[in-house]
Symmetry: C2
Subunit: 405 residues, 2 copies
């Protein structure tokens, strides 16, 4: 078979296929403030094994089955109970689809709603993974300006009306309303009510991404957007990634039945991992509530450590969010500062990882002077060292002026 030319795949790819993704692993910093990892030392490893052992003794032979694509029913039951207790969402286990994290449900929702060019309304800066998914389906992303209570209602309505005037009424409004990623604010109750009324008025579904809601360090819970709507306008996703571990790859969605049925039809890979679902179900049923209390204390200390270190090392050269929960600070440097260009250098030289604001920008270009810093993974001591190293690196690279200069 010598002489045959290699197959030219570029000739074969679908018109709708996105560009390729780089293979192999990216470098991480010791001071890894880049990705939203939770605390590694408090993952309940022994308890997950105990839960798994119990489940395997009871129903281990069911690993031989292909579970229904909605996923392990007892864990869906647990999720339904948790949603009722914590978020005022009253659904049954049959109204839940488990997915690989919340990313897969978001992917499924995007896939069933979006034709190329369809409008999706999002916060001006929001979770980059979801933006990537929307872009993969060639959405026309339209960002809405936010203040410390969430999307500005007038700005939101103007964006929706503009899209309608353009002949492309929005297919979806996506929001991370609680401890917003990356901006850190929590949408106020009034804004949530206004958002629901706007969605109802214009007939646009809302996708509420509530991944961080359990990680509250101060203040009081705000009702879910879902609970403020009684008309099937809200799709809801959340995850065990931030309260147990991302490596468990377990998230979920609930939504009106027509949406669930369509979403299930595009889910790839069948049911979520039963092995992991066994462990998380047994563990969560007995111990998740107290575990959340424990990690909230751990993460509060880390947040405070990062806030103090920012004050010490950045002082008046930057402003940053004061989040009541979640895993990030959103740090704005003076206009003209450029954290995009310095990122690789600072990772290589100072061993500090961060993500630039542009990663989270609906327009893909704003936010060159903004950084998202995740405080979830490192120890408080590492956070103090890492923020100091970051400030040094930014000054060395000329992104920040010398302190006191």
């Amino acid at each position: 078979m010598t002489g045959t030319a290699p197959l030219d795949f570029d000739r074969l790819f679908a018109r709708s296929a996105p560009a390729g993704r780089t293979l192999g692993t990216a470098r991480r910093g010791t001071y890894d403030f880049a990705v939203a990892y939770p605390d590694p030392t408090s993952i309940p490893l022994d308890e997950l094994i105990d839960g798994l052992r119990e489940a395997l003794a009871e129903e281990g032979e069911d690993l031989a089955l292909y579970a229904h694509a909605q996923g392990y029913a007892p864990l869906r039951e647990f999720v339904a109970n948790k949603l009722a207790r914590d978020r005022g969402i009253y659904v049954t286990a049959d109204d839940i689809i488990l997915g690989d994290g919340s990313g897969q449900p978001i992917h499924m929702i995007a896939e069933v709603l979006l034709d190329p060019g369809d409008t999706v309304v999002v916060e001006d800066f929001v979770y980059s993974g979801t933006l990537s998914t929307f872009r993969r389906f060639q959405a026309d992303l339209r960002g809405v300006a936010c203040d410390n209570e969430g999307m500005l209602p007038d700005a939101l309505e103007a964006v929706v009306r503009q899209a309608i005037n353009d002949g492309k009424p929005p297919k979806l409004i996506y929001t991370v309303p609680t401890f917003q990623n990356p901006q850190g604010w929590t949408m106020s109750l009034e804004r949530r009510k206004a958002l629901v009324m706007l969605a109802q008025k214009y007939g646009v579904p809302i996708l509420e991404d509530d991944c961080y809601v359990d990680l509250r360090y101060d203040g009081n819970d705000v009702p879910s957007i879902y609970s403020l709507d009684g008309t099937g306008h809200v799709l809801y996703v959340a995850s065990f990634s931030k309260i147990i571990a991302p490596g468990m790859r377990l998230g979920y969605m609930t939504a009106p039945r027509p949406m669930l049925e369509r979403a299930l039809a595009v889910k790839s890979g069948g049911a979520v991992n039963t092995f992991a679902a066994f462990a998380v179900h047994r563990y969560a049923t007995g111990q998740l509530h107290s575990h959340i209390e424990e990690i909230v204390d751990i993460q509060r200390e880390k947040r405070d450590a990062m806030l103090e270190a920012m004050e010490e090392h950045f002082g008046e050269q930057a402003t940053w969010s004061q989040p009541q929960g979640g895993l990030y600070l959103w740090v704005k440097l003076p206009p003209g500062a450029d954290v995009v260009a310095a990122r690789d250098k600072i990772l290589a030289t100072d061993d500090v990882g961060y993500l630039p604001g542009t990663n989270f920008a609906a327009d893909g270009v704003s936010g060159r002077n903004i950084m998202r810093l995740c405080f979830g993974y490192c120890t408080p001591e590492q956070i103090r060292e890492g923020i100091a190293a970051l400030a040094r690196g930014l000054r060395r690279e000329g992104v920040l002026a010398e302190a006191g200069g």
Copy 2:
């Protein structure tokens, strides 16, 4: 908010979205010959827990990380070594993407290759899950007639040429060459070579689905199609589902880099479950080889039990495959017999599950007189009882004539 109408999602779904999928669980029979479940009693539950415990002690904190989307690197390394040893496929861990079963990689490949209406060439009866995926992307499926050595070369070339003449050259040739699902044959070496030459001649990639290759009860291994090509025309998928358990949701693909990069870009849900990958990696490294020997003996006995029971209860009223491996018999009843109509009744009355041939038909309609019977899940005793019950049920329903009648 009373008075607001429920949101009409049907107005919002993408033109490309498939129809919805039913929520809730389907009934299974006690004599479940319907789905390709492996043996439930030989799943190495204790060994998987031991492996998991070892992995968590060594690197449990890494559950806090979002793994690279290709999946847990040591398991990819194991897969690369297994492919070299068993299938003559020499690739690195970076050439592997782990997926949720092999179904997710197949979904990814379909997604990056297929625009609506694109031609995919398949065996005339082949794995229904893959057909569903191709149909979800609105493929034009064209079946190729097979004998006991696989696709008939002349028929295959005629189908390819017809597609080219129709202005729709095939995007893909999909095959399950070893212990074909559902037909049971294994493609001969000569046919594999002919297939590779045809793929090269017409510039069409082959998707080789090798999910059953480890389950050989008689006869000798046949080289992988991948190993017969040196020109990047073959994409390869396989899985741990049949040799460990489907509930572990771990399969994999390898392919030329351009295809891997595109496939990774459409993978939903991030990396496969790290928790399950930890367990499978540690277990498989030490014990998979001997475990396969053990389950081959178990499944051989089940195959033989089903073959004997078929002889006893169906005799000359049917013909069936004599598979050297895999998990199925492919049972043809006389022309005019209709196992589709009788299926629900036999499940309800006789507690026997099977799948009709139509589920596996490229044309979606052929095979009303054919059943696929999986012998993997039930005990030999249950197989004997179940085949007797199936024969009784088919006779009662008038699908088969009374024995001796």
